[in-house]
């Protein structure tokens, strides 16, 4: 057994190494040396289209075929008939060959057609397609670091925020009634993005690397509750007009509830926020990442009534959300000091570490319905949320064709 979490015992590593050299490497070498064409078999190209008999069991049969070929997530699918996919593309004047993104880790081409196929499979209507397309485009941008999000053991997934009129038009819930009943638009958009991330990106069923898989990804698309927000909407804060249709993808951990039903000052309420995120288990302490707060309307209204703007909230959290070194478990602190020796060795235990390195790493979004429950999503080191103008994207890709 290991003496240090995350560090295998040298004897354990030696045993694994012996096994790899005795069994796996000879098999790999043999495979290359036996094949005069050179190397292991090249993965055959997969079909762009298949034909299936239109009987009463088609939905079940097709779902099984798609799972077997690593084209689906295991849940039943809506058959992506050529007609359904073409109709979705036609609704936006697209042919299908427009490139929306190239997806890591294998460099899969996410064309408009591939994205429409996934959208149909997930149960999307045409009105949902631009949101899915914008989300695909957003996660493929450099700042999002999808390569890391798709391949790290850190449980992360794209969390989609929708702002502007398109959210309501698409039928997205702004939080109230989102669970436990579920809400079609939120579920199918999130699932469509997930299908793109696995099938079109080329990830096979056994290649998932996250320690806990993608817990909760089916609920990972929301629209901001702009109606009940006392502040400017998220996209307006980022410089977009209020009427713009905007999709933001955050690389996020599953959300965590922040419950406060007793504070009588804004500082007290925000201290509850700060103390929730300021813990040794928050990865951002070690490696800076965005922290997104989904502030419930009750908390938001109270803070605004006390003249707290979003900027005030971020500033307060930046100064207060810190972890004193003495609160770190002893051996975990030793590991931190080893990892960043120059910074954390030989310093007073009263030194505090900020959760983020800049107050702009805190994001504030109003979301949800009745109740004193806000939520918090921790982000991914190196990565950042990416915002995309939906209408501009669809316009641009259709013109580039």
């Amino acid at each position: 057994m290991t003496d240090e979490i995350g560090h295998a015992h040298p004897d354990e590593l030696a045993d694994i190494a012996k096994q790899v050299v005795a069994e796996q490497i000879p098999a790999i070498l043999d495979s290359y040396r036996r094949n005069p064409a050179g190397g292991a078999e090249i993965e055959p190209a997969q079909p762009e289209e298949i034909a299936i008999e239109a009987d009463a069991d088609i939905a079940v049969k097709l779902s099984d075929i798609f799972v077997d070929r690593d084209w689906s997530d295991g849940m039943p699918i809506v058959p992506p008939t050529v007609e359904r996919v073409d109709a979705m593309l036609k609704a936006f004047g697209l042919k299908g060959d427009e490139l929306l993104a190239v997806l890591p880790p294998r460099g899969g081409r996410a064309t408009a057609k591939k994205v429409a196929v996934c959208a149909v499979m997930a149960g999307c209507d045409a009105v949902h397609f631009p949101i899915v397309a914008a989300a695909v485009h957003a996660i493929a941008q450099r700042n999002f670091q999808l390569y890391m999000v798709q391949t790290t053991a850190h449980p992360l997934y794209p969390f989609i925020l929708v702002n502007g009129p398109i959210g309501k038009k698409a039928g997205l819930s702004n939080g109230h009634d989102l669970t436990p009943r579920g809400w079609k638009a939120n579920l199918v958009i999130a699932r469509a993005l997930r299908l793109v991330c696995i099938s079109t990106a080329g990830i096979k069923a056994l290649q998932a690397s996250h320690t806990h898989g993608y817990v909760g990804y089916h609920d990972s698309c929301i629209r901001e509750n702009e109606e009940d927000s006392p502040w400017e909407a998220f996209h307006v804060e980022k410089g977009y007009p209020k009427e713009a249709n905007v999709v933001t993808a955050f690389p996020a951990e599953p959300p965590h509830v922040i419950d406060d039903r007793g504070s009588t000052t804004p500082q007290s309420l925000l201290s509850t926020f700060a103390m929730t995120v300021a813990s040794p288990g928050n990865r951002s302490i070690w490696a800076n990442s965005e922290q997104v707060f989904l502030v419930c309307p009750e908390h938001a209204r109270y803070l605004a009534s006390q003249n707290f703007s979003k900027g005030d909230i971020k500033e307060f959290l930046y100064h207060v959300a810190r972890v004193p070194l003495h609160q770190f478990p002893k051996h975990n602190l030793a590991s931190l000091a080893k990892w960043r020796q120059k910074i954390f060795s030989n310093v007073s235990e009263h030194v505090t570490l900020p959760v983020v390195r800049s107050m702009e790493d805190f994001e504030v979004v109003v979301h949800g319905g009745v109740g004193p429950h806000s939520m918090w999503l921790a982000g991914c080191p190196v990565s950042r949320g990416v915002t995309v103008d939906v209408d501009k994207l669809i316009h641009d890709v259709s013109r580039k064709r």
């Binding site: 295998a8 290359y32 040396r33 090249i42 079909p47 460099g107 899969g108 850190h154």
Partner: protein, 117 residues
């Protein structure tokens, strides 16, 4: 019974040549009884210690005649026999730089690397 035409979300590589290179290799590189071994450290705590043990085993068995070790973002090549591996950051989830991969392809015949910890 009529058949329905079903479109698929199947993976299509943006760079087919690159995708093919993941599953093919020049067999002449491995014709000889020994090969030049590469170790690409993904910077996770267990990866390099494990791969160094694999390298030791391969050398002891007379399979690897030389070992080259590099970290994902390191501009420097070091020898597993002793020279320190440069670590600029923790780039475990970030792809190795193309220039580094090019150099490893030229200077090694068989490369091992880590996925996760």
């Amino acid at each position: 019974m009529s058949k329905l035409r079903i479109a698929t979300p199947a993976f299509v590589p943006d760079n087919p040549a690159l995708a093919a290179s993941f599953s093919s290799a020049d067999p002449s590189r491995l014709k000889e009884a020994t090969f030049r071994l590469g170790v690409l450290d993904n910077t996770k705590p267990n990866a390099l210690p494990l791969m160094e043990k694999i390298a030791e085993e391969l050398s002891a068995k007379g399979l690897a005649r030389n070992t080259v070790t590099a970290a994902k973002t390191s501009p420097k090549f070091t020898n597993a026999a002793g020279v320190e591996v440069v670590r600029e950051a923790n780039p475990a989830g970030v792809a190795a730089a193309p220039a580094l991969l090019d150099r490893l392809a030229k200077e090694t015949d068989f490369l091992i690397t880590g996925l996760g910890n």
